[in-house]
Subunit: 134 residues, 2 copies
């Protein structure tokens, strides 16, 4: 069984750095929440635990989404694209996805006069990261 999983994971074409981009989308509304990165271990962990786990490039370690903020992403479905080098996670986002306190990380829109910020934070970053004691 374990072997089977490993074989299926082999269909994912991780890049030279061992990573693939992973899109998180709210499963029912279709909102694109964020883009993060996954290595093989992150995919394996996400499937095993049923919640999104990424590879944090800045911290160079596995990052269980919501581990400090409590804003976890329950994994509803994992999809792979035609080329096998990008993942789409259909998730149920607890609270907000963005560290700024917004639901989605994609809150800046290109306008004639520059990048326009869409929507205010639903929660302050201070509150977001004090919840679980850091």
């Amino acid at each position: 069984m374990r072997e089977d999983i490993e074989q299926r994971l082999s269909e994912i074409r991780f890049g030279p750095d061992g990573l693939v981009p992973a899109i998180a989308q709210q499963h029912d509304t279709g909102e694109v929440l964020m883009l993060a990165w996954m290595n093989r271990e992150a995919v394996r962990t996400s499937l095993a635990e049923g919640r999104a786990c990424y590879w944090s490039r800045s911290r160079a370690r596995l990052w269980r989404k919501g581990e400090t903020s409590g804003q976890v992403q329950i994994l509803r479905e994992l999809r792979l694209d035609c080329d096998g080098d990008a993942l789409l996670l259909l998730v149920d986002q607890e609270g907000v996805a963005c560290h700024t306190g917004r639901r989605s990380c994609f809150f800046r829109a290109w306008r004639e006069d520059g990048w326009q910020t869409l929507g205010a934070p639903q929660i302050s970053p201070e509150e977001l990261y004090s919840k679980s004691g850091g």
Copy 2:
């Protein structure tokens, strides 16, 4: 004006290879169609022409989506994420996004017994790429 655009483009944090991942999402249904890559010139061209233009990593050149298949993506809105290193394109997809003839490139879903293919092609790849004479 040109200078302004260049300054705004500077808020996009392209990677060491000059690229950022770009998600294409159907603007009205919310369907995630594909993930591709953009360099600065691709972003500039997309904005100037009002249709999605990517950087093809395999062909190492600008790639106007639909240039051979006719399946263009009209750009409705360009969004940037909180970290500035990922783009979301809200598009109006003409026909299908995937070279397999499917609407979305994310047509493989993880199941207990392996990757399951969702949905049949709407058009055959042969027909898709013979339309405009290659």
